[in-house]
Symmetry: C2
Subunit: 502 residues, 2 copies
Amino acid sequence: MEMRDIDDLPKNAANYMALTPLWFLERAATVHPTRKAVIHGSRTYTWLQTYQRCRRLASALSKRSIGVGSSVAIIAPNVPALYEAHFGIPMSGAVVNTINIRLNASTIAFLLGHSQSTIVIVDQEFFNLAEDALRIMKEKSQGNFTPPLVIVIADESCNPKTLKYALGQGAIEYEKFLESGDPDFAWKPPQDEWQSIALGYTSGTTASPKGVVLHHRGAYLMALSNPIIWEMNEGAVYLWTLPMFHCNGWCFPWTLAAVCGTNICLRQVTAKGVYSAIAKYRVTHFSGAAPPPSVLAGMSQKGFRVTHTYGLSETYGPSTVCAWKPEWDSLPPETQARLNARQGVRYVGLECLDVISTQTGQPVPADGKTIGEIVFRGNIVMKGYLKNPKANEETFANGWFHSGDLGVKNPDGYIEIKDRSKDIIISGGENISSVEVENSLYLHPAVMEASVVARADERWGESPCAFVTWKPGVDKSDEQRLAEDIMKFCRSKMPAYWVPNQ
Amino acid sequence: MEMRDIDDLPKNAANYMALTPLWFLERAATVHPTRKAVIHGSRTYTWLQTYQRCRRLASALSKRSIGVGSSVAIIAPNVPALYEAHFGIPMSGAVVNTINIRLNASTIAFLLGHSQSTIVIVDQEFFNLAEDALRIMKEKSQGNFTPPLVIVIADESCNPKTLKYALGQGAIEYEKFLESGDPDFAWKPPQDEWQSIALGYTSGTTASPKGVVLHHRGAYLMALSNPIIWEMNEGAVYLWTLPMFHCNGWCFPWTLAAVCGTNICLRQVTAKGVYSAIAKYRVTHFSGAAPPPSVLAGMSQKGFRVTHTYGLSETYGPSTVCAWKPEWDSLPPETQARLNARQGVRYVGLECLDVISTQTGQPVPADGKTIGEIVFRGNIVMKGYLKNPKANEETFANGWFHSGDLGVKNPDGYIEIKDRSKDIIISGGENISSVEVENSLYLHPAVMEASVVARADERWGESPCAFVTWKPGVDKSDEQRLAEDIMKFCRSKMPAYWVPNQ
């Protein structure tokens, strides 16, 4: 159709800007400069201080040639520096590459190499882990290795010896690094909202983790969707039990700036730490992995209101919600639990969600029975996997993002997972590749066959469980000793939480 | 800088879609099909029904050749059809052109001609007004006039004679029109989020109103900003005291779908109607024009929590908010009132707000004294004025949208209006052009000189006040009679609320 007057008005500098969550931080610092933005133990930063620290970080990175196209890795638990990384790194133009602290050195070595991170920010608790990873990278590099600059985060829990050692190895202390930056640095918002903002690795069915790339537009939209889904009002107080390195904390770092709320950091998540923070700071929200029904029931009794969401790193974290209906209020608890355990409906920021036949690609009927693959389409679906055209082609086939999860569509339109087409075990919210665990088991001299499956776990939701057969000639008189030997073997090959247990 | 791997991931059908608030309606109908979406007197429509009615409307319009590039006008108070128009018209690809019911026939004739609306939906109460407007259009057309199709809305308040008359004139009844449409119509989301969604006319300093064109992207972003600014949670109950024809009800029609809330329509805003609705439907939110401090104080005493916002049709409605700070809680009421009367800080969906020198174009210091023009930049700034390149050039000069309002920036960053550079009087939230009123006064045979200014008004905030001098020879013995004669004269030339009063 012809362009008519009504549409013939071009974009200009006043009415079009790239969407980015970075402006939320500038706004929070303007509106509530003295409000507490980040609390970590005895340390507190206001929104103005947080903004200045992030600008310093962006400035210091820029001085080290970090900019558009760069990746900066960070290996840290939920400390203020990790929060700041979600703003300061993109404010330099670069991509924030958050790394799971529970990974082992060889996996981290792979990630740092794959992401081409030239700066690594690491919490002192994980300095040795980072050091091991860099050593592996160097060994594998055949003499062609430029070590990244290491910035070490040292808070009050830091052992002075660790810090001294790190500095001796050429690391720069994080606070010193910030001091080298300008608190009034003129950070550059992205020119294009499709520019990448974050990179996070997810375990797939194959040996190599895949790098999920997110963009400014999606991070902005997810940040504005969260308050609606979670009923999070201006000034919300968010307790960081969910690791910020996990899908960028479901974009909550940016949401908290949008609502000018307060972030409560916890280096370690303990029951005491959680309850103390709730009492002390009047916490309004916290998130975590989907717990088993028994834990859900217990939380409900204690007065927690649980919102059940589902998603993947590829969808900026949760992008479906089991939206509670008032008509469920009067149902028996078991019925409520069954209804609320479903994956539900799409987030307000997601355009399309469906369950499609793996044969025909057509939507399955909403009968609660016909199984198909859960698929997503819209603006909170990732840009793609980094340097992995084959995986991108498969995952984006036919105009859908393919989750790999198998489910049904219920008559009320709520989707529900029934199985996974990918062999993934989700333990404490983190993916474990059953194939990769099996591959390691096969390396053990006594193992003939191995199969790894998910086992229901009261605490973690699922945990890996291995079935093995022994090679001929193996002494089977003490199977307990054999099992222990295999678990020890696994611990040397994979993150501790991946190790099958008894 | 070179494009690197991290940014080299193209858009595809699964991860990029045009932003539009229309998806919110589809989602509300899926998630809460039986929840009340729109209540109007004894009539109630659920979200599923509302979605079906909007699809019928889009379908019926499509059958009449309405599509991308078309404008459909609607002249109605806050009745369900006006709510539906905000979805059904854009779902056909067209632009919804909401018309202020308080305008006179000649102004409406101008608007209908300027917007090239080929279909006009009109509430029965305003059928005669529309008829008069069309007659004026025909008279001025010099025989080259194709009358638009008229759809008449007839609810329970409708006089059967009016309806019969309208149908006799060739109008189609709105419900009949919907029946001609398909409730399962495959509406087409916009291909480009820059596509226009709404057109609304605003009174400026010159005789011709300017047509403000808004796009799907901005409407989406504003719809998601509102819940954060107004602390509007899922299932909010919104009372329509603000006319939906006024800046598209500040985008609240789309916000209500995003939060799956409930719209309470009021044909006429009366104290009884407002209080009854609050009691009956447990209203959580309503909006209106900024009241004078005396009214604000009274509302506060009655338990209303007032959020003060400011904006223009050109910024999708309010795009600044006087964000309340907890530290103001303990201040004396007069100080609170003074602080909260300021225009404040930018909306979360607006990227930049400033006060700039009208001489240098540079930001004024945040001293609360230096006056400059309030300017906006970002994604909730209009596309531009329809068919008005000169006005667009001026209003978008130097990368800012120029509001025409003069103000200061306070030391806390909050902006505050001090004066208007444009001669606009804002009465009950609607703009009145003082120049246009003056121009009419000059047409009166007794008037020598005329000057129209804003007068503080207990009820309307401002009302127009005229100063005149008489021509030589005018009998000044009865000035009261002269004044009454002039007011009568004005009533024939302009909307009733524009008429200066004593």
